[in-house]
């Protein structure tokens, strides 16, 4: 007699073994995730790995930013952490600087500053740029043309110089530097969203001819938004990468933060003074971190971009 | 007028051309053998994707990776082109065998003047030629083609379509090649220009004793000018024979179908005839004859075994009906 039917719906099969155990055990779950990784790679190719690496970098450095105490051996402002200007070695993995501070700790604590500023600046830019772009694209007419002209002019102006001008005028301070950086990217979001809005608008008017007025908003929400979101997310990630570079540049040239706050850009400018004597460890590590963090967001952005809008033609 | 006492100027023996792609291998050309005799016009016909253009490119060893030629021989005046080095084949390209392409606008570099593109070819093959000599060579060729020689100083986009077409022929003929391969030369031209082209080709052929390989899907063109015809389908040869013979009495069902499809203004046709079905998948071709799935006269064996081109009444036919 076939006993399978008796046990069909239950958690235990014929032999009394749990059907679900292997699927939901820890090993099973890990295996499942692993398989999902490999299948995604097959589906998306090398871009998938680029995205994963980028994500890992971001997660690691975010951890550094959020829980520096768990990683840093010393306080970043402790001026008695060890001997002065010591090259990397035991006790001080990355060496010490001219004020006898441990460089590794400064690097770890510095993540918070740069990531914080860049992230908040990107959010600010998008919060201003996106609605403006939507509005301008939707309303059209002379307002649109004026806004576009302004945004295009700002966009064509070298971003760093603009940020320098703002930072110079606003003065030092974390808030000010965040504002300065965020202004530079508003046109980016504006142009992006306006362009998308314009394209959709064309199609919408055809629809609107047949549909009732109320339906337009539904279409906007259900069809435009997902498309725009995908592009915005990619741009957001690349934006943060750029903002990181801008923030570091601003502190490097001395426009950014008060001396107390550990910052990679500022450490670079301090290290510059000791360069002629061959003190390489003061420069190498902060700069390397800036590059890695910027790379992380760039990889995330590019990977996402390829996955969300795959290039059909083989490159 | 056949010179079958002499060796054919170009012989293709069991040629295979494959393109590996992500989902498999495209068998663009499979086991193709044919001959081109000196002084004749050979028409290579077939629908898009049958492999005729690929075949033409292979005669100048222009198949680029990932495409490859796994086996076969292409003998030009007795020498195997496929075994030649890059250096040797470059001496033949444009010099002994010339090729002209479908779209004359995109065949000419838009940023260079016409005369410079000619000079480049001349310098490449005969570096001893002086600028003045080159100038007269170009002027000569243009004259033959009925183009005012002053136009050579212009850029391609400044000339009309028909003129560009003739310039393209000129580029092919400038080094006085033995063979001219024309790949879909009239497809982008209107019928009036096409008629002019046919006249021109006839004239040039007689004057320069040119051997022409005409690759086209246009049977009407082939009917006007070709001496012999090779019919291809799905990468394989279906029928080879003299033009009059084939048009009088097409042996292969595919050839028959092709000819019937040509709209004839004299007949009282109500509908345009078409052949049902679609071209074969070149990655996973059918087991037997490539045309069998669409053939109105298909037999069981056609679906099982590939027919080889066999001699029959002075032609070659690849069809189980004739063995």
């Amino acid at each position: 007699m076939n006993t399978d039917k008796l046990t069909k719906g239950s958690a235990k099969d014929n032999g009394g073994n749990s059907r679900y155990a292997s699927k939901y055990s820890v090993a099973g779950r890990v295996g499942g995730v692993f398989r999902w990784f490999i299948s995604s790679h097959k589906k998306y190719g090398v871009e998938w790995w680029i995205l994963i690496v980028g994500l890992l970098i971001i997660l690691f450095i975010s951890y550094m930013a959020l829980f520096p105490q768990t990683l840093a051996p010393y306080s970043p402002t402790d001026q008695h952490a060890g001997p002065q200007l010591m090259p990397p070695g035991p006790g001080h993995l990355l060496g010490t600087d001219n004020l006898s501070r441990d460089i590794l700790s400064r690097i770890i604590y510095g993540a918070r500053t740069i990531l914080g500023v860049a992230f908040v600046a990107a959010i600010l830019s998008s919060l201003i740029g996106i609605p403006l772009g939507l509005f301008s694209g939707f309303i059209g007419g002379i307002i649109d043309r004026i806004l576009s002209l302004i945004m295009d002019s700002v966009y064509s102006f070298p971003g760093l110089i603009l940020a320098i001008a703002f930072a110079a005028m606003l003065g030092p301070g974390v808030v000010n530097i965040t504002l300065a950086v965020s202004v530079v990217y508003i046109p980016t979001y504006f142009r992006l969203v306006r362009g998308q809005t314009l394209t959709i608008k064309e199609e919408l008017y055809v629809e609107a001819a047949r549909a009732i007025g109320a339906k337009r908003w539904v279409i906007l929400g259900r069809y435009i938004f997902p498309n725009v979101i995908a592009t915005v997310v990619v741009v957001f990630s690349l934006n943060i990468a750029d903002a990181i570079m801008t923030e570091a540049a601003l502190s490097y040239i001395g426009l950014g933060l008060p001396a107390g706050i550990p910052d990679w850009g500022m450490d670079l400018s301090m290290g510059k003074k000791f360069l002629p004597s061959g003190t390489w460890w003061m420069i190498t590590f902060p700069g390397l971190m800036i590059m890695i963090l910027a790379l992380g967001f760039t990889m995330l952005g590019e990977g996402l971009s390829e996955i969300l809008n795959p290039r059909l033609l083989e490159r | 007028m056949e010179k079958n006492v002499e060796r054919p100027i170009l012989e293709v023996k069991n040629l295979y051309i494959h393109y590996p792609i992500s989902i498999g291998t495209v068998r663009a050309v499979e086991d193709v053998s044919l001959e081109i005799n000196k002084g004749e016009v050979l028409g290579l016909v077939g629908e898009s994707g049958c492999g005729k253009s690929t075949l033409g490119l292979s005669f100048l060893k222009l198949i680029r990776p990932p495409g490859r030629v796994p086996s076969g021989e292409i003998l030009f005046k007795g020498r195997d082109i496929l075994k030649m080095s890059e250096h040797e084949i470059r001496k033949i390209r444009g010099n002994d065998i010339a090729m002209i392409f479908q779209n004359p606008l995109t065949s000419l570099n838009p940023l260079f003047r016409v005369r410079d593109q000619f000079y480049e070819t001349i310098r490449q093959h005969r570096p001893e030629v002086t600028k003045d000599e080159a100038y007269s060579m170009v002027a000569n060729v243009l004259e033959q083609l009925g183009i005012d020689k002053e136009r050579m100083h212009e850029y391609p986009h400044q000339l009309s379509g028909g003129m560009r077409q003739r310039i393209m022929i000129g580029m092919g003929l400038i080094m006085d090649p033995d063979i001219l391969i024309a790949d879909e030369p009239t497809t982008s031209l209107d019928v009036i220009v096409e008629a002019g082209f046919i006249d021109l080709l006839n004239r040039l052929r007689r004057k320069f004793n040119l051997t022409i390989l005409l690759i086209t899907h246009n049977l009407g063109l082939v009917a006007e000018i070709a001496d012999r015809i090779v019919v291809m389908y799905g990468g394989r040869v279906m029928e080879i024979g003299r033009a009059e013979d084939i048009f009088d009495e097409p042996l292969h069902p595919y050839t028959d179908g092709l000819i019937k499809c040509i709209p004839n203004i004299e007949l009282d046709q109500e509908e345009l005839l078409t052949m049902p079905g679609s071209p074969p998948d070149l990655v996973n071709p059918p087991k037997g004859c490539r045309f069998a799935p669409r053939c109105p006269k298909a037999m069981d064996i056609c679906l099982e075994k590939v027919p080889q081109p066999m001699d029959y009444r002075g032609r070659k036919v690849a069809c189980w009906l004739y063995t």
Partner: protein, 338 residues
């Protein structure tokens, strides 16, 4: 020729609104500061009357619209105003320092193109090989390298460790600049004066900073060139050229590159702005006496008129380069009708 002139004039006319907006933008930025520059300059403890008097002097008490029109009026007469800190016209230090920045930028662009275009063309011709992937990897990473960090690292390696190249300034201390200085472009000046020793020295000093700029910006050009080259290499005239027996190297570097170059030219114009920004950072790193360093100096000294003047000059430069590129584009591509 007449048509070309009309085309140029049209382009100039179209650029004017943009320049106008940029100038307005600069004005707005420099007026939004909290607090006022005069107190900052004189110190918070200065007596009221002195502050008011100074403000009157500088015209800062007029309504903002009036100030705006004064500003525009000045600019139309090519007057950038006077420094608030030093007794000089704003244009003076700018005139002195501008050639240094231009020289650096030009050489920087040269290296950018050198690395970018040739690596890109090479990658395209060796498509899908290991070399192609390596070059693409380079292109993607290089953009994330802070230009000043690259400068510092190069200084470390070539200046401090290997001691091959100088790491600061435009000339060595031993060279007397006044001997040859004429236009401010030292490469030109030394050649004009026939002083080849100084010429060599100037070039040596230019090498590291320009290469730094060149490498960091080459990434974009590598990608652009490669993409364009791939497109071009697929075109029929390339196939036709091959069919005529033209050797591959000539096809890639003469035929294909010339066709692929046009969008690269446009990109050059766009990248110039970024190059300028990078130049500022490079000047700070290499103690290069140019506009960038001048800007930072004056920011520190709170010399607002000069700061404004420098930024105005930058804005004008960016617009002019963009215009210039448009015109060159029309000249190079015979298909553009004018």
């Amino acid at each position: 020729m007449k048509n070309l002139l009309k085309y140029i004039i049209t382009r100039i006319v179209l650029t004017i609104p943009m320049i106008f907006i940029l100038l307005t933008l600069v004005f707005v930025i420099l007026r939004i500061m909290p607090g006022d520059p005069v107190s900052a300059m004189l110190g918070a403890h200065a007596p009221e009357e002195v502050i008011e008097q100074k403000k009157e002097e500088l015209g800062l008490n007029k309504p903002i619209i009036a100030q705006y029109f004064d500003y525009l009026n000045q600019l139309i007469h090519f007057d950038l105003g006077e420094s608030m800190i030093f007794k000089q016209k704003v244009s003076q230090p700018i005139k002195e320092k501008l050639p240094a920045t231009i020289e650096l930028t030009v050489f920087g662009m040269f290296f950018t193109l050198l690395f970018g275009v040739f690596l890109g063309a090479y990658a395209a011709s060796k498509r899908r090989t290991g070399r192609d992937y390596t070059i693409r990897l380079y292109a993607n990473i290089v953009y994330c390298i802070p230009v000043y960090w690259m400068g510092l690292m190069l200084q470390l390696i070539f200046g401090v460790w290997l001691k091959w190249l100088p790491i600061a300034g435009r000339v060595s201390a031993r060279i007397m600049v006044s001997d040859f200085e004429k236009t401010g472009f030292y490469t030109l000046d030394t050649l004009l004066a026939g002083d080849f020793h100084a010429f060599g020295d100037v070039l040596l000093h230019l090498l590291l900073p320009s290469i730094t700029l060149g490498i960091v910006l080459s990434g974009i050009f590598v990608r652009l060139t490669r993409a364009n080259m791939l497109d071009v290499l697929r075109s029929e005239y390339i196939l036709a050229a091959r069919a005529r027996g033209i050797p591959e190297r000539r096809i890639v570097y003469k035929h294909a590159l010339k066709n692929a170059f046009i969008p690269i030219l446009t990109m050059m114009g766009l990248q110039f702005a970024i190059l300028l920004a990078g130049a500022i950072l490079t000047e700070m790193t290499f103690s290069w006496p140019g506009m960038g360093r001048l800007l930072m100096e004056r920011i520190y000294l709170r010399d607002y008129p000069t700061i404004q003047g420098i930024i105005v000059v930058f804005a004008l430069f960016v617009s002019l380069v963009s215009l210039f590129v448009d015109i060159i584009y029309a000249l190079i591509d015979p298909r553009v009708k004018y």
